[in-house]
C-alpha cells in the first residue's frame, strides 16, 4: 500500500566537503556506487584467481615466477579455488545486483528521496568493505588462504591447521570476513524492505512497481531470512575451532595420526544443513535482481509491456519462497536420510516451473515487439539464453538418481557457472549499460558495448559448455590436476579449450573496463531519458540531484511498462505523467 506520507523523514540536505559527499556518505546513490566499485575490484580479483586455476589445470608443471619454489602446489590451487568462489559469490554476486543497483535505483524507482535508514545503509557498505579486506588478508596470513572451498565443510574446516595448509589463520579470517558480511547483509535487507513498504510515492501501488523493485524486495526478504542462519553456523564453526566445542566434530577422529580426544557429539551434516539452508537462497539472491533487470530492459527495448506482469511478480515471490525448501539437493549423497532426498528433489523440480514461466514471459514480451538491439538489450537477451542453458542442466542435478553420477563432477560446475557466473553477470552488465547514463550523466560507447557483448557471449559458452562433458566423463571438481587416475588424462583437450577460451574472454572484459572509464571521463552527455523508458528513474536528471527529484516528487498514475499503448501520443507513456499531461502531449503542446 502506498504511503500517504511523503518521505518518512525530511528531504536530505546536500552534505558539504569531499569526505562527507563522496566517502562517508549516507546518500543511497553514493553508497550504491561504492558497492559497485567494490564489486568491480572483487570481480577483477576473482577473474585473476580463476585464470590462475585454469592455467594450472592445463600446465600444472609450469614454472610460475611469483610462487616461491616455482611450482604451484595442490594446496595453493585449492586456496585459489576457495577464494575465487567466496569472493565471486559474496563480493560480486551478492553485492552488485542488490547492493549497487538496488541501493542506487530502488528509492528513485519508487519516487523516494533516499532509503529508509541512510546511516544504516552507510554502515552496511563499510562493513562489507571491511569484510572484503578481511577476506583478502587470508592470502597473507601464516598458512595462506583456506582450502576448504566456499562451502567450508567441517571437519576439514573445523579443526584448525592439522587438516591442511590454510586451515589455521586463513580459515579464521575467512570465517570472520563472512561473519561481518552477514551483519552487513542483514542490515541492508532491513533497509530495502522498510523502504519498499513505507516510502513509495503516491500512486505507486504494489502492482505498479517496476519488476526490478519486486526483485530487490524479494531478494531482501530472502537475505533477511538466510544470512542469520549462516551467521549462526559460522559462530558455531569458530567455537569448534577455538573454544574446543564439538558442534560439528564427532568422537574418535584421527587426523594426521593424532586422536582428537576432547571432541564428541558433533555431526558434520549439521554444518551442511545450516550452510545450505543459507546457501541455496543465496544463489537465488544472486540471480533474482538479474531477472528483474531482464524483464525491465526487455520491455523497454521491445517497446511492449512485460508479458504477464502479475505472473512475473508472482514467480519472483514463488522462487523466493520455494528457494528455502530445497537446500537438501546439495546433500543427496551426503549421508542424509534418502527419503528426504525425494522431498527435496520434488521441490527442486518444482522451482523449475516459475523459472520456466519467467522465460516464456520474456519471450512473450519480445513477441510482437519492436526490438532495438542496444547493448543493454543484447545482454538481457544473453541472460535469457544462458539462464535457459544453465537452468536445464539443473533438471538433471535435481534428480538424486542422476546425482549419483553427477555430484561433485564438472557437470555441477558447468551448471552453476552458467547461471551465476554468466547469467547473473550478464544481468549486471545489462544493468550497467542501461543505467550508466543515469548514474554518470554520460553515454557509453555503443560499438564497444556490442563488441564486448559478442566476445563475452561466445566466450562464455566456450568456457562452460565443455564442462558438462568433463563431468559426464567423470572429471571430478576441486581437483588440482589430472594425475590422480589414468582416465583423467583424456580430458586434457577439453581443459585446454576451456583455458584458452577463459583467457580470451577475460581479455574481452578489458573492452568493458576501457569503455566504462573512458565514458566516465569523456562520454557524450546523457539526456534525461536516453532509452525512452517509462519508470521513475527516467523522470529526473542524469545524474539525479541529491534528493533524486529536486523537491518535485512524482505521483504515479499508471503501471511501469506502458509501452506502445494504443491511442497514446508516443510509444511510451511514463508512469509519472498525469492523464491530462499525456492528453496535452497528444494535442501537441509539447509537454512530454
Amino acid at each position: 500500500m502506498s504511503s500517504s506520507l511523503h518521505p518518512v523523514h525530511a528531504a536530505p540536505r546536500a552534505p558539504s566537503g569531499f569526505w562527507r559527499r563522496y566517502i562517508f556518505s549516507t546518500n543511497h546513490k553514493v553508497i550504491g556506487l561504492q558497492y559497485y566499485f567494490l564489486a568491480l575490484v572483487a570481480v577483477t580479483v576473482g577473474i585473476v584467481l580463476s585464470l590462475l586455476m585454469r592455467f594450472h589445470l592445463v600446465w600444472p608443471r609450469a614454472h610460475l615466477p611469483f610462487i616461491s619454489g616455482g611450482l604451484m602446489r595442490p594446496e595453493q590451487y585449492l586456496a585459489l579455488m576457495t577464494m575465487h568462489g567466496t569472493i565471486m559469490v559474496f563480493f560480486v554476486l551478492t553485492t552488485a545486483p542488490l547492493g549497487a543497483f538496488g541501493n542506487y535505483f530502488l528509492p528513485i524507482q519508487i519516487g523516494a528521496p533516499d532509503m529508509a535508514f541512510p546511516r544504516l545503509n552507510m554502515m552496511s557498505f563499510w562493513l562489507t568493505l571491511l569484510a572484503f579486506a578481511c577476506m583478502l588478508s587470508a592470502f597473507f596470513v601464516q598458512g595462506g588462504a583456506p582450502i576448504s572451498g566456499w562451502t567450508a565443510y567441517p571437519p576439514l574446516s573445523g579443526l584448525g591447521s592439522i587438516t591442511g595448509p590454510g586451515e589455521g589463520m586463513g580459515q579464521t579470517m575467512w570465517i570472520v570476513s563472512i561473519g561481518i558480511f552477514c551483519f552487513a547483509s542483514l542490515l541492508a535487507s532491513i533497509n530495502f524492505i522498510s523502504t519498499t513498504i513505507e516510502m513509495r510515492a503516491p500512486g505507486m501501488h504494489l502492482m505498479r512497481m517496476p519488476l526490478t523493485v519486486w526483485a530487490w524486495f524479494v531478494t531482501a526478504v530472502m537475505s533477511l531470512l538466510s544470512f542469520g542462519v549462516l551467521l549462526a553456523a559460522l559462530i558455531m564453526l569458530m567455537l569448534d575451532r577455538s573454544a574446543g566445542t564439538s558442534f560439528f566434530i564427532p568422537y574418535g577422529l584421527v587426523v594426521n595420526g593424532e586422536l582428537q580426544a576432547g571432541r564428541s557429539g558433533g555431526w558434520p551434516l549439521l554444518w551442511e544443513h545450516l550452510f545450505w539452508f543459507f546457501g541455496h537462497p543465496e544463489v537465488y539472491i544472486a540471480i533474482l535482481p538479474g531477472m528483474g533487470v531482464t524483464s525491465h530492459i526487455i520491455s523497454n527495448f521491445s517497446r511492449k509491456p512485460v508479458f504477464g506482469y502479475r505472473a512475473m511478480a508472482g514467480t519472483l515471490c514463488a522462487i523466493g519462497f520455494l528457494g528455502f525448501l530445497l537446500w537438501g539437493h546439495h546433500m543427496f549423497v551426503s549421508g542424509m536420510n534418502p527419503y528426504s532426498s525425494l522431498a527435496f528433489s520434488a521441490l527442486t523440480l518444482s522451482i523449475g516451473v516459475p523459472s520456466a514461466v519467467k522465460t516464456f514471459n520474456w519471450l512473450g514480451t519480445m513477441w510482437g515487439g519492436k526490438i532495438h538491439f542496444d547493448t543493454p538489450m543484447l545482454f538481457s537477451i544473453g541472460f535469457v539464453s544462458f539462464f535457459v542453458t544453465g537452468g536445464l542442466s539443473g533438471i538433471f542435478l535435481a534428480q538424486p538418481a542422476l546425482d549419483n553420477m553427477l555430484h561433485a563432477t564438472y557437470y555441477v560446475v558447468a551448471h552453476f557457472h552458467l547461471v551465476m557466473a554468466v547469467a547473473a553477470i550478464f544481468g549486471i552488465f545489462s544493468a550497467t549499460y542501461y543505467w550508466f547514463p543515469k548514474m554518470f550523466g554520460r553515454m557509453m560507447n555503443e560499438t564497444l558495448g556490442k563488441l564486448h557483448f559478442w566476445l563475452t557471449f561466445v566466450g562464455a559458452y566456450c568456457i562452460f559448455m565443455p564442462m558438462h562433458f568433463v563431468g559426464l566423463y567423470g572429471g571430478i571438481r576441486r581437483y588440482a590436476d589430472w594425475t590422480g587416475a589414468d582416465y583423467l588424462a583424456a580430458l586434457r583437450p577439453l581443459h585446454m579449450f576451456m583455458t584458452i577460451a577463459a583467457f580470451a574472454t577475460a581479455a574481452a572484459q578489458l573492452i568493458f573496463f576501457y569503455n566504462f572509464f573512458k565514458s566516465l571521463a569523456s562520454g557524450a552527455k546523457a539526456p534525461e531519458d536516453p532509452w525512452r523508458g517509462t519508470t521513475l528513474e527516467w523522470a529526473t536528471a542524469s545524474p539525479p540531484p541529491v534528493d533524486n527529484f529536486a523537491g518535485d516528487y512524482p505521483h504515479v498514475f499508471r503501471g511501469p511498462y506502458e509501452y506502445s499503448v494504443p491511442g497514446a501520443p508516443d510509444d511510451y507513456t511514463p508512469q509519472h505523467l498525469s492523464p491530462s499531461e499525456v492528453a496535452g502531449a497528444a494535442e501537441g503542446d509539447g509537454n512530454v
Partner: protein, 291 residues
C-alpha cells in the same frame, strides 16, 4: 567524444537524444547474428550430447543401467525444451526486430500462462517421479541377503577396505589404537578375537555377480566413494557409517575416486575396484594377510 577514434564514434554526441527518438535501428544485422549464433550453438550442443561425446564408460550393474535410462529420458526432455527455447529466442529476436511498425500491445494471456505452467510442471515432476525407481533401488532397499560386507574406511588421502574374514564378524575398532606406522591403521582391538581374521587391504576386490554391501566411514574429514561404472557415489562422513550396495556384472578393474574435497591430497585420493571371478576372489581371501 573526440577522445574516441572515428570508427568507434556512433553519433551519440547529441545532447538531446534526438537521434534516439525514432525507433528504427536500421540494419537487421544484430538480429540475424543472434538468430544464427543461437542456431549454431544449439546445433553443436545437440550434436555433442546426442552422439555421446565424452560419455562415461559402460555401466556394470543393472541399477547403473536404470540410471543411464533415466539420464537419457531427461536428456530427451530437456533437449527438446532447450531447442525450442533457444531457437524460439533467436526467432523472436529476428522476427520482431524494429521494422518500422508499432509493437503489438498486449498485457498477457491467462490461458497461455496456465497452459505453460501446467505443461512445465508435468514434464519436470514427471521426470522426478520416473527417477524414483533408480534412487529407491540404490538407497531404500537394503542389500540382498548374503551380500559380501566390506567396511570402507577413508582418511586423508587413502582408502582402506576391511573384510570380516572367515568368522564373518568385524573386530571392534578403537580410535585410540589407530596407528598406521605400526600396521594398525583402523585401530582394530587386538584383544577382540573377531578381529584376528580381518583382512585390511588398499583396494576393493569382489566377485562378479555377487551382491556387495559397503559400510562407508571416515576417520578424519568428509570423503567420498565414487565409481563411474557403478553410477554410484556416497560421502564418507566422520561419525557415521553409511551403507552402499551394488551387484557388479562385469569383470574388470575400475577407478574409485574421492569426490568430496578433503584437503591438499584430494586430487590424488584414489583406489581400485577389482571385480574378479569367484575363484579369483576365494584366492584373494585365502592369500590376504590377516590382522
Amino acid at each position: 567524444m573526440q577522445f574516441f577514434p572515428a570508427f568507434l564514434r556512433d553519433g551519440s554526441d547529441c545532447s538531446d537524444g534526438a537521434r534516439l527518438k525514432n525507433g528504427t535501428r536500421g540494419s537487421a544485422a544484430p538480429a540475424l547474428l543472434l538468430f544464427l549464433s543461437l542456431i549454431v550453438f544449439v546445433g553443436i550442443t545437440v550434436y555433442l550430447f546426442a552422439t555421446g561425446y565424452y560419455a562415461p564408460p559402460p555401466p556394470i550393474t543393472p541399477v547403473a543401467l536404470q540410471i543411464d535410462h533415466q539420464y537419457a529420458l531427461t536428456l530427451y526432455a530437456t533437449g527438446a525444451i532447450f531447442i525450442l527455447a533457444q531457437l524460439g529466442l533467436g526467432f523472436a529476436v529476428f522476427r520482431f526486430r524494429d521494422r518500422g511498425k508499432p509493437a503489438h500491445f498486449i498485457r498477457g494471456h491467462v490461458g497461455l500462462e496456465i497452459a505453460w505452467t501446467l505443461a512445465t510442471a508435468a514434464v519436470f515432476l514427471g521426470l522426478g517421479v520416473l527417477g524414483t525407481k533408480a534412487w529407491s533401488a540404490t538407497r531404500f532397499q537394503p542389500a540382498a541377503a548374503g551380500a559380501i560386507q566390506v567396511e570402507v574406511t577413508e582418511e586423508q588421502f587413502v582408502y582402506y577396505f576391511r573384510y570380516p574374514g572367515a568368522d564373518g564378524k568385524f573386530g571392534r575398532l578403537d580410535p585410540a589404537l589407530v596407528s598406521a606406522p605400526t600396521g594398525n591403521p583402523l585401530g582394530i582391538d587386538p584383544n577382540d578375537p573377531a578381529g584376528r581374521d580381518d583382512i585390511v587391504v588398499p583396494t576393493l576386490t569382489v566377485p562378479v555377480n555377487h551382491p556387495v554391501d559397503l559400510l562407508i566411514r571416515s576417520q578424519d574429514v568428509i570423503h567420498n566413494f565414487f565409481v563411474r561404472e557403478l553410477r554410484l557415489q556416497q560421502d564418507a562422513v566422520p561419525g557415521m557409517v553409511v551403507p552402499l550396495h551394488f551387484t557388479p556384472d562385469r569383470i574388470g578393474r575400475y577407478n574409485i575416486m574421492c569426490t568430496q574435497l578433503c584437503g591438499m591430497g584430494h586430487y590424488q585420493m584414489h583406489s581400485f575396484l577389482n571385480v574378479v571371478s569367484e575363484a579369483e576372489y576365494q584366492r584373494f581371501l585365502a592369500e590376504a594377510p590377516k590382522q
